[in-house]
Assembly symmetry: C2
Homo-oligomer: 343 residues x 2
């Protein structure tokens, strides 16, 4: 299988992208990669890092870069020589390519996927869906956290179905528990969107377990959290901020007296283990689910190892035929009467 890599996206591009590519090629002997970016730069980095996989690497020259503060739609339409747009075009031209990995502008990756790859039949909206750690050593999928700021109820129904299929097929969870992010667990809680979508979710052929509160996102009691991208983004980034707050306060608190300072030194290994567990730059990326090919959005600060994991995520989803499963599940959805009354 072949994956295309946007080598100019992300804070550590192109060095870490190319290094990540080499790590992946080393571990998987049938993998082929297409590297899009500045040809000379890529060749130089490959040479410096002892590349022995030239027969499984294609380099496509694309010297331009899309940056974070550009309008995603403008960039995708006009920057035809950018590594990302060229990567999308490669994917379109080469049927063998199953997926794309980018650590570049989230907006541009999502817009490009939407415009250049297109939605899976029946999916109203694709969604950016990171896996987050839980207390019980498991993972929970957050759908959506980046693509759809204002959602209609049917969008959330599709998120629920796609999320449930993801946990079943990609993560091997038997009967994924799908919950609606809300302000309380009672049935009649929350905003207009929640109250409209709740009865619709109940009609779906998924294991819908009802409303959940944000404080329980990592309890391990849920496998899929369904929400709009605004609330999902607040949940994800708020958790990141809390982690950083606790980290800095813990350091201050430990340094405030010699006994705890000594204790802190002895705990160093434990702290490091914890930090690694929550380090998003080291855990691969977020799949953008609901588009016709596999798209993995890596964290902007991804390093080689994370890029490698992202490439393997794409392979894994392709091998397990995730996209076909979505299409079949969406096709089997019951007609939701509310649809007609809502828009």
């Amino acid at each position: 299988m072949k994956v295309v890599l946007d080598c100019l996206g992300g804070d550590n591009a192109p060095v870490e992208m190319v290094k990540g590519a080499l790590l992946a090629l080393k571990e998987n002997s049938t993998l082929k990669l297409v590297l899009c970016g500045d040809q000379e730069e890529i060749k130089k980095i490959l040479a410096e890092n002892g590349n022995t996989f030239s027969d499984r690497i294609e380099i496509v020259h694309a010297p331009d870069k899309i940056v974070n503060n550009e309008s995603p739609t403008e960039a995708i339409k006009k920057k035809t020589n950018s590594s990302l747009v060229v990567a999308f075009n490669c994917m379109k031209a080469d049927e063998e390519i199953v997926g794309l990995v980018s650590a570049g502008s989230t907006g541009a990756v999502l817009t490009g996927s939407f415009l250049k790859v297109g939605r899976i039949k029946g999916v109203s909206r694709p969604a950016l869906s990171p896996l987050m750690p839980t207390k019980k050593n498991g993972k929970v999928l957050l759908v959506d956290c980046g693509a759809n700021m204002d959602c209609k109820p049917i969008n959330l129904c599709h998120f629920a179905v796609m999320g449930s299929e993801f946990m079943k097929i990609v993560c091997g969870v038997k009967n994924p528990r799908v919950a609606l992010l809300n302000v309380g667990v009672e049935d009649k809680k929350g905003n207009e969107l929640c109250s409209q979508v709740f009865p619709m979710l109940k009609k779906l052929d998924i294991n819908f377990v009802g409303n959940m509160e944000a404080r329980d996102f990592c309890s391990g009691d849920y496998d899929v959290i369904v929400t709009d991208a605004f609330a999902g983004n607040v949940l994800l980034k708020g958790a990141e901020g809390t982690f950083s707050l606790i980290n800095s306060e813990l350091k201050k608190s430990i340094k405030s007296n010699p006994i705890s300072l000594l204790g802190g030194l002895l705990c160093k290994g434990a702290f490091k283990k914890l930090k690694n567990k929550f380090n998003l730059t080291n855990q691969g990326g977020s799949p953008f689910i609901g588009v016709k090919k596999i798209i993995i959005k890596s964290h902007g600060s991804s390093e080689a190892n994370s890029i490698k994991i992202s490439i393997f995520q794409a392979l894994d989803m392709a091998e397990k035929n995730y996209n076909q499963a979505i299409e079949e599940a969406i096709a089997k959805m019951p007609v939701l009467e509310e649809e007609a009354t809502v828009w």
Copy 2:
């Protein structure tokens, strides 16, 4: 000044409520309190805890309790003998009472405030506004996190003005930095509500510093965070959940080997300090701002010390004439042209 206390609200009612009342009376020699709840129970707890403040305590018999899973509107309308409804009625009947403290059902406290106390002139929607800790040892006010799930732009403008006044008048911050919770810091980000309210916030006579991301809620770079109650609730409870996740993971990680276990024991004091800092049950309550009297919603699991702090919060806001400041600030707001086009 006089404050009324809902003695049957909260997980630790009535014992911790009454104990909290005694702590407050001990520290403030001019404070008077009205205690609403089961008369006999209150008298018993007062006697058991060495009450010497009988001349500053009024007990009003109210044997019924509003619980969390009741419909707030039904409960406020029908449970006329409940401690909360009686407390609201006391406040209406006795002009000397400046505020109310309750650790009971949030929905009932908010609904009761709305129906029984009423909004300050000009305020479209009151908002539940907790103070959260920041990295720089400061506090940031989150408006709203519980009252208004679906907001119109004008509601958020009022939240901004009320929040700014709160930080100025109650917390002594000179030129409070007000930010809009969004998914990015760029001007044109977010959902429909954000894009409508952004230009309106720029026209207000406040120090509006633009959009902020959830990950920076505790950076110390903002004094007021403006958002709807759905996103605010997700931010607040998501932070709670993250804290609990890190706490449990840190314990596991420390216990996993003998060296870090020893280190953990030496750090015990530092961990405790940190836990106290983030323990919401020990920090007073959240003001419900924008209603005609001071309402403080204490955490459901509040203990005596937290109730005492909540009582002092109410006194402080009343002494500083916070409500008058809101009314004046709202009256001075410019006419926001967008209002006409939005609804």
